[in-house]
């Protein structure tokens, strides 16, 4: 069965091969394991980009295939990051606290350690107690499960409410946007238990690991590549069969699918929840590479950018989402990072830091108007051209 799936979807194989090649090349060029042509910070950028590609694949599933323009998937991404961040921060702080307490005459008691960690973590928000939501922060296994469960359950509850009442189209988009806005406002509060606008920091340090960042960054890079490969494979498999037919049917004509006897709501809910879980995993891999997560990460604008990537890349084709996310986010950081050369027009100098967003916004309008299938559409065109060329 699996063979027939790959056979019917050669693009999946091509993608996986390219991804493997890319991973290999980066590994060989890296500082940690290779000749050091690619700096550690750039490895992190690439690893983060792979995570963004993974959430873009999820976005493509929910939007490109099921037709639900969610403007809230970064909420799930952020929650995934927070869940892993809690363990990273707790465990690392615990080690620091234990080592500093051990210098005392008496061996530290569990209570002293707990109080010490709480003071270290929550001192900035004027608290010295662990909030209830940190109950499992000492267990990596549970927090890893929560990376999937928390976004999944939020998506399940929110989706159940929204789909049940047949909120569709732009209404649903606005509602998902409200969801992520609500979450970010909630997280901004000190009382949220997640350090308010300070967020969680120091996440790049793996507790108990003495390896240098150049090595750790490669581990995360590989993990991100693996997650992207598996996520891509999973989504490609999901959309390839009858399930894919049904959700594309929902996208094109929801009522018709309903009259065929499919419970449209269940399908939407399933896709929404699945993509939320994928987003959570992507976030859990992203933020340890970024080192810090704060509530601004889940602000509505982030999710809209996600839609922009997928639209520019070309929705309804998974490689399009990957191309869009990788291209736009890398080009964005190139322009806004001040690396792009300014253009001197004589009377005015275009500084890309200032003008990049304008360029992005306008090109986005142009893509929407004139190239609804995005950059992925170009790939399609090339392939079709080749096929036609071969036929004649």
């Amino acid at each position: 069965m699996n063979r027939s799936f790959i056979a019917r979807n050669p693009s999946v194989l091509v993608f996986l091969a390219l991804l493997a090649l890319f991973t290999l090349v980066v590994s060989v060029l890296s500082e940690g394991f290779g000749i050091g042509l690619v700096s550690t910070s750039f490895v992190k950028t690439l690893g983060k980009t792979l995570c963004l590609c993974l959430i873009a694949v999820a976005m493509d599933l929910i939007w490109g295939y099921a037709g639900i323009l969610s403007l809230g998937h970064f909420a799930f991404f952020g929650l995934g990051g927070y869940m892993i961040g809690m363990w990273l921060m707790y465990e690392r702080t615990r080690q620091i606290v234990v080592s500093s307490l051990s210098e005392g005459v008496l061996p530290p008691t569990p209570e002293e350690i707990e109080t010490g960690i709480a003071g270290q973590i929550f001192g900035v928000v004027g608290s010295a107690d662990f909030p209830l939501i940190w109950a499992f922060a000492d267990s990596l296994v549970i927090q890893l499960a929560l990376v999937v469960l928390v976004p999944g359950i939020l998506a399940l509850v929110f989706g159940w409410l929204a789909f049940r009442s047949r909120v569709t189209g732009v209404y649903l988009s606005i509602l998902t946007q409200a969801m992520t806005l609500g979450l970010s406002l909630y997280l901004f509060q000190n009382a949220s238990g997640l350090r308010g606008n300070n967020g969680l920091s120091g996440l790049q340090n793996l507790p108990g690991v003495s390896a240098p960042q150049s090595v750790v960054s490669m581990w995360f890079f590989w993990a991100s590549a693996l997650a992207l490969a598996l996520g891509y494979l999973l989504v490609a498999w999901v959309v390839s069969g009858k399930f894919g037919s049904v959700i594309r049917g929902i996208r094109d004509n929801e009522a018709r699918v309903r009259f065929l006897g499919y419970s449209v709501e269940s399908y939407k809910l399933a896709v929404f929840t699945l993509t939320a879980c994928l987003s959570g995993i992507a976030g859990a891999l992203y933020y340890p590479q970024a080192g810090i997560i704060n509530p601004a990460e889940v602000a509505p604008i982030a999710s809209i950018y996600l839609a922009v990537w997928v639209a520019i890349g070309g929705r309804g084709r998974l490689y399009g989402a990957v191309i869009g996310a990788a291209f736009v986010s890398l080009v964005s950081s190139w322009f806004t990072g001040g690396q792009a050369p300014d253009i001197n027009l004589g009377f005015y100098t275009i500084q890309w830091v200032d003008w990049w967003l304008i360029l992005l916004g306008l090109s986005f309008v142009l893509v929407t108007l004139f190239a609804p299938s995005g950059m992925g559409g170009l790939v399609d065109l090339l392939m079709r051209g080749k096929k036609r060329g071969g036929n004649t």
Binding site: P108, S165, R166, V170, I174, G182, I301, G361, F364, T368
Partner: protein, 651 residues
Amino acid sequence: MKTMLLTVLSALFLCHGGTAQAQTVQDILQSQRALIEQSSRRTIGPAIDAIADSGLAQMQSVLEAWQAKDMWQRLEDGFFFAAHKTADGSYELTDFESGAVIGTYPKDALAQIKPNSGIRAMIATALVRFQLSDPDMARRGEALDSIARNPEAGLLGPLRAAIPSEKDPTLLARKLRLERLMTMSYDTDTAARVAAITAMAGDLGVDFRATLNPILTTRIVVADAGVTPEGNIAATLVPGEAALSRDAAYALLVEADKAQPVLTPDARDAGLEAHIESGRIAGTPIAKLDTETARDAAYGALAAKGLVPLLVHPPDIDASLANHQFFSIYHEPSQQVTEAAEAALAKSQSRVVASQAIDLGLDALSLASIYFLAAIGLAITFGVMGVINMAHGEFIMMGAYTGYVVQQFVPNHTASILVAVPLAFAVTFAAGVALERLVIRWLYHRPLETLLATFGVSIALQQLAKNIFGTQARPLTAPSWLDGAWVINDVVSISYIRIAIFVLALMFMGLFVFIMKRTRLGLETRAVTQNPRMAAGMGINPDRVNMLTFGLGSGIAGIAGVAIGLFAKVTSEMGGDYIVQSFMTVVVGGVGNIWGTLAGALMIGGFQKGVEWLNPSNTLAAQTYMIVFIIIFIQFRPRGIIALRGRAAGD
């Protein structure tokens, strides 16, 4: 006037026991000479009192000279004079009694009396009684302000004395009110105090509540079981209840030497560390002391040997607390007064709560007006045309920046606002028409794509504004006649600018209804919305109608931008603050219906203020709850408060 003051003052001192005799100013000053020379804040009180209470009219100028550091002492005889520096550096002395110049002396024959700031403040208080009857109304007002700031028992008499002579009704009312408030605190007659309190019960003034609160302050007193302490008991406290925690109660017992202090963990650990004997504490290896119980046990062992103070265990605390009673006792000794004050305060509090509710209602109304203003343009573009315009917030921003630019050229704020409003409309109308022609026109049947394309426009416009105006907030100043607030009482007030926004919202509402129901454009818009083909068949140009309608919605957003800019900061990101709320307003209200938008704005504004009221410290929480509420609300009314049904709903 002065004679009257004199009689009043002397009458006052007669009833105070009448120490006043026919004395001169200098007599009195000489009698206090030692204190004045000492010039110490702690001891100067009697001297100032003696001067102020002397009943001599000239004493006001004495005090003023003293306060202004213009009082000098002649070294040869120690007499006090008002001194005035002459051109050659010597000093011209003036007699306080007669006001006559008595001669010029070199500086070394004189000593300046230098009151420090504490003494000067006391002099100022003493001066108040003179100022209360000053012919200058402004000074009488200042004197009242000064008393209200620092009321004290000694001022009650002078204040009462200054009442009959007061002619100005406003000042008279203030004096009477102040007199009553001071009666509550300082009158020696309990009945008079109770009467004053009861008479003002329910008053909303902050000053009234500020007067009552000190009367009702309490202290906590510990007594052995079965013993009732002296004093005006307010309540019996039970440790562990809200008014007195167990820890605090036990701390009181410790303070009163009625119980052993509880050992802090640090003190316990210090005790342990002080008794280490060859790697062991009380026989236990140090390494084993890694739990709280182990440490307690080791400490207990040390205590049993008498090496450290005993550990207080929870049962000991329980027993100590059970053996004692805790009372809160009013500082105020008179029970009648405290009872009256409690009753009066309760009455005031309930009225304050009622007023706060009204105030909250007004707040909610003005917030709703803002949401309505921000959303009304959307109600047109999204509600009527079904076009989702993510750049709507940027049109609001554009309107606000137009106002800012106009103010750079038209300095008069009233005129600039009058220019800015139509100009903002024109600018955003043009921008809206351009957006409709260039982008939205091509996407009429692809609402999600419209959303995305207009979002692209939104980020481009935002960045453009940032490039032009920078990232810092720009001011858009309201005309001065919009400053200030309409104060209804000490609790309820509403700023004029909010009233103006409310009025503006009403005007827009009217304008919208008028355009939609009474004009050709409205008719055509409704026709095109309902059935574009048929409308086209009847000679309506749907392109033109769409363009104009979109322009109208955008133009209104521009005007809303000017209004919002007047009270919020004008930044390139301000649009984003309103866009989600605006969509919520339209969606919650029910799409395609202006009354729905109004209802949505009222509901969201009201709900948000309501939550803020329950949790005033946290406006973020209010917004979070509001969004959760909206998501749940949509469950029950997916089409909004005012929903269209059937074919018109267009599904």
